[in-house]
């Protein structure tokens, strides 16, 4: 089939646009098709093209980004803004691509996987990919859209079987990311979302900032800024083995991680919440000796019925 070389025709496009509408005239369409056996394929091509570039446009923000911004996104560490409106469109487009046009054959079959604090669970996906959920985490999935995941809360490690034709898309808060063959970790809470790559590559906000992340890179989305930073690839997802590695991470985030991993609430008092910590915590050791935490984080750990609170030294 060498139909790629023939140009798309207006006539077929007209039909593709008309037949989508609610008052499509199927009899007239049948007659048009029967006139010439090649028309059906011309129509198919027009529909496919229409579908493709509609997804492209849907993925773009109505506010067009200057080309200079797109180039800047490739430089290191530009704290840049991104538009929230991109995200819905981008993910909708990915979903539309995953489900295809077969709306009536493939109705969404959503399901969710959730873990209690202190628990870990592995979700095996139909395509051989897997997601490891840390404690206190939740992901939404769909049996009929197996290449899409929505991270609701907590932290999880994705091991994605790469398929260039069907990129795996992850939605987390206002952010979308697409795998380019990959092991990566996604963590989200009310304040910020962090994506770290161990292997392969990930593209963040593919239709907006389009920030590529290579192994050893991470991005932090906070408010509407994106910040890129370096991580140790071996540390990505180390929580699976009970090791929590931090490199300049605010204590409120450290506390949130500990809550999930220890299975009991840990909070950072406002006075220390923005203080950063660099180092590795061993979950098992902390379970045995909670006092260790205060020494490591250089705070006072107050224990009461509500859990642990990290406070400044008196």
């Amino acid at each position: 089939m060498n139909d790629d070389s023939t140009p798309l025709d207006d006539e077929a496009f007209g039909w593709a646009l008309r037949m989508e509408g609610p008052d499509a005239d199927w009899d007239a369409f049948t007659l048009w098709l029967e006139h010439d056996a090649s028309r059906s394929e011309r129509y198919d091509r027009a529909v496919a093209a229409l579908h493709d570039f509609t997804a492209d446009v849907a993925a773009l923000s109505p506010v067009t980004v200057p080309a200079s911004d797109l180039i800047a996104a490739n430089d290191d560490m530009p704290a840049r803004r991104y538009t929230r409106r991109w995200i819905g469109g981008a993910l909708a487009a990915v979903l539309a691509g995953a489900i295809g046009l077969g709306v009536w054959t493939e109705t969404p079959r959503p399901y969710a996987v959730e873990t209690a604090p202190g628990e870990q669970r592995i979700v095996a996906l139909a395509d051989g990919s897997s997601i490891v959920l840390a404690g206190g985490s939740k992901v939404r999935l769909d049996h009929n859209a197996p290449r899409v995941a929505m991270v609701e809360r907590g932290e999880m490690l994705f091991r994605i079987r790469h398929d260039a034709a069907h990129p795996f898309a992850v939605g987390v808060g206002d952010l979308t990311l697409v795998d380019l063959g990959t092991v990566f970790d996604v963590k989200t809470d009310a304040q910020r979302t962090r994506v770290s790559v161990a292997e392969g590559a990930v593209m963040i906000d593919p239709d907006g900032a389009a920030l590529p992340l290579d192994p050893g890179q991470a991005v932090v989305a906070e408010g509407d800024s994106l910040r890129r930073l370096a991580v140790e690839p071996g540390d990505v997802g180390a929580w699976q083995e009970g090791r929590l590695a931090f490199d300049g991470v605010p204590l409120d985030e450290v506390a949130a991680d500990l809550s999930r991993q220890l299975g009991q609430p840990v909070r950072a008092a406002p006075a220390v919440a923005r203080r950063t910590f660099r180092g590795t915590l061993d979950v098992q050791a902390l379970k045995r000796r909670p006092a260790l935490l205060g020494q490591l984080l250089d705070v006072t750990v107050r224990q009461d019925a509500d859990g642990w609170t990290l406070e400044p030294h008196p």
Partner: protein, 153 residues
């Protein structure tokens, strides 16, 4: 049944060939088996389902061809991730630039109809233009986008 014959005729016209009878049967069963099945116009629903089925088959065929092509082409190595992301970015930039050239009304028409799924009549009323203007805006925008995609391929 008359509807069944119409469906077979349509599937033949859509290039189903020998499979037309079987496909019509499948479509029939699937649509009939749906709990939230059609109430208003069952024939239009059947046509739509049959058309969607053929569109899916076309897409599947194209994907298989693309895979074979990549397989037989010894030089078709995986593009490095960085190149792919640059290409994707450039393409997004070109699409955005094209929308700007088309003008804001055509862009708005395209978005409202194709992405929001608004009825063309509704969009015409919103923008205070005639239905035929909306139709032609849609055609022109689609055509321009299709040409751009062809060029980028």
């Amino acid at each position: 049944m008359a509807n069944r014959d119409k469906l077979v005729r349509f599937l033949l016209a859509r290039g189903a060939g020998d499979a037309a009878e079987d496909l019509a049967h499948d479509v029939w069963l699937k649509v009939a088996g749906r709990a939230d099945g059609p109430i208003g116009n069952p024939l239009a629903y059947l046509y739509r389902a049959a058309d969607t089925l053929m569109i899916d088959r076309y897409r599947a065929r194209r994907q298989a061809e693309a895979r074979d092509q990549a397989w037989s082409d010894r030089h078709a190595q995986e593009q490095p991730a960085a190149d792919r992301s640059v290409a994707a970015r450039q393409e997004a930039g070109e699409v955005a630039a094209l929308l700007t050239t088309l003008g804001s009304r055509r862009e708005a028409v395209f978005r409202r109809v194709r992405i929001d799924g608004a009825a063309q009549r509704e969009v015409a009323a919103e923008l205070g233009v005639s239905l035929s203007t909306v139709e032609s805006d849609l055609r022109i925008a689609s055509r321009a986008l299709a040409d751009l995609k062809e060029r980028l391929r």
